[in-house]
Symmetry: C2
Subunit: 345 residues, 2 copies
């Protein structure tokens, strides 16, 4: 099967995306893969399979590779006398800004390129932690209590310490701090404001049970991965999570009751349906007093959470064959005709 | 002042956008305008000022005009031996799909072109009537009661008749019906489902007082238009609204108390702030029992609601000089370096 892996992007998670792409090169060996790199300047390059290693990017060698341009239905590689079209379905693997904020989704929609990944609205609701809370309220899904702070306004918080401070629009724990008492608060806030002028503050629930589930929809049915209980340190910092993004070994199924598993997958399906169609997402849940709370939605999880699926190539194949279609719009200029006659123009 | 008017789009409101653009040609006569037409196939054309009339589009004459291509920072017009760059700020005047659903916003963001219009998240919250309701809940703004129906599921409604049935994602009254009793319901539902598989049903409040306010932010302050009490028929159908899109004569200020005006503009500011920066939007309100309810947000109102402002050219000038800026992202490949050394690759 043909598939183009789109990675990089103008994002704080640019390097994480490269690691994800290198991991998928291994995990999707049976696919006919094309690698499309988007640099931080939004120029596209075609990277040869053999060049898909860290040094190609860290040493800037990618700059010598063929340029690609977005045209209707394809990424096009032009040379002096010919042009080569890459027409495969795209797997959007750009984490963070560009990939998860709706930009890439809109771009591919506009150029009529089919893609695996969240659509524009789904991106908006998962990328910004504020809007994920709104989604929870609307869909009647429990989540952790929160307050919103803005760099423009000085405001006190009402939550009790310890708290966790997060930039509203970043993943991968970048800019996130756990604050044990008031003395640490200002520093944590400044750190978060470096990345976003809007910050989400939540109570830090020590020792909370955490579970991750990934899934996707194919032919109208949501398919779930195994439920994982992630290894925990206080929380994963950027470097640990970074290593996490190159994960490729299968993990063990969490040792939980059938009932809890059902609760987790039901909540996942509720979040996914009528929003994330076309994407493989990972939801990170907390369980408090036997109640499932949504912590975070990863609409493009690191290395596509391949390690949570038994047969990952099959998952990607199934998903690519079940992507949402856009209606085409016909215009007959009937109203323009009538208005011109009415106005005598 | 230089300004590019972007209009057309693959939208049911394609023709309305053409009418809006022709209206702005008159209203912004003092500007150095470039007209960029996006056809339903997503090809861009440069339309000469003199050709900005209905027949250029209804007769397909635009197809002979110069093609434009999106590149970093500009729409570019290529000829055999040269290329001409159109670098002005863009006014996004594409109503409905493409323009108001976040697609054009993302496209212009991606290509680093500054624009007047809603950003991606703002588009998502105003384009889909369901998400406008979620926004109201989150911002504690009153709106009309509602139920959501989906083409996939047969469900009864709990609201009493008369009701109003609307496709979730269309403006300009397309596909909207007022339903007086149960006998008319199925037909209205089918009509709405022709445009969207998701439908919003609301109580129809006969004789409700309706007020429109437009506004924008410049230098951190929200500026309001006059408050208008729109002329009412039962409701404006597509053709009447269509004519409405070419409005250019100033309207009369609604005859309301200072207190109600304050309530309306306060609600407008609450909706606008931290969401619609960069756009000139029009909010349509209902007033029931002296309470202000949001009916609809038009993030790209017909002919930019020019008729609600005393000095419209000044408004556009001020807004263009106060557009949100995106942070640039620097990548140092430090983590890639460290991971490569850790892995010995």
């Amino acid at each position: 099967m043909k598939l183009s892996i789109l990675f990089g992007g103008a994002s704080f998670e640019h390097e994480i995306s490269i690691v994800s792409a290198i991991t998928l090169k291994e995990k999707l060996q049976t696919f006919d893969l094309t690698f499309i790199f988007c640099d931080t300047d939004h120029t596209f390059y075609k990277i040869e399979r053999a060049s898909m290693k860290a040094t190609t990017f860290s040493r800037g060698e990618y700059k010598k590779m063929p340029l690609l341009r977005l045209e209707k239905g394809a990424f096009v590689q032009k040379s002096m006398f010919s042009s080569l079209e890459h027409r495969a379905t795209v797997l959007n693997l750009i984490h963070g800004a560009d990939g998860e904020d709706g930009t890439i989704a809109a771009l591919l929609d506009f150029y009529h390129i089919s893609y695996v990944g969240p659509r524009v609205a789904a991106s908006v609701f998962s990328y910004d932690k504020r809007y994920t809370k709104w989604l929870c309220t609307a869909k009647n899904i429990k989540c952790v209590d929160y307050e919103i702070l803005s760099a423009d306004i000085q405001e006190d918080i009402k939550l009790d310490y310890p708290i966790i401070v997060k930039p509203a629009r970043l993943g991968s724990s970048i800019g996130v701090s756990i604050v044990k008492d008031a003395s640490e608060f200002d520093y944590a806030l400044d750190t978060a404001y470096e990345y976003d002028k809007c910050v989400v503050v939540e109570p830090f629930i020590k020792g909370v049970k955490e579970y991750n589930v990934a899934g996707y929809m194919s032919e109208g049915k949501v398919h779930f991965s195994i439920v994982e209980e992630p290894q925990k340190e206080e929380f994963l910092d950027f470097e640990k999570k970074y290593m996490d993004f190159s994960r490729s070994e299968s993990v063990l199924r969490a040792d939980i009751s059938k009932e809890l598993e059902q609760k987790l997958t039901n909540t996942f399906a509720k979040i996914y349906t009528n929003m994330f169609e076309g994407a493989l997402i990972r939801c990170d849940f907390f369980v408090v007093n036997n109640e499932v709370l949504l912590n975070e939605i990863n609409p493009i999880p690191g290395s596509m959470a391949n390690y949570l699926f038994e047969d990952f190539p099959h998952v990607i194949k199934e998903l690519s064959q079940s992507l949402p279609k856009k209606n085409s719009i016909q215009v007959d200029y009937e109203y323009i005709h009538s208005i011109s006659s009415a106005k005598g123009k």
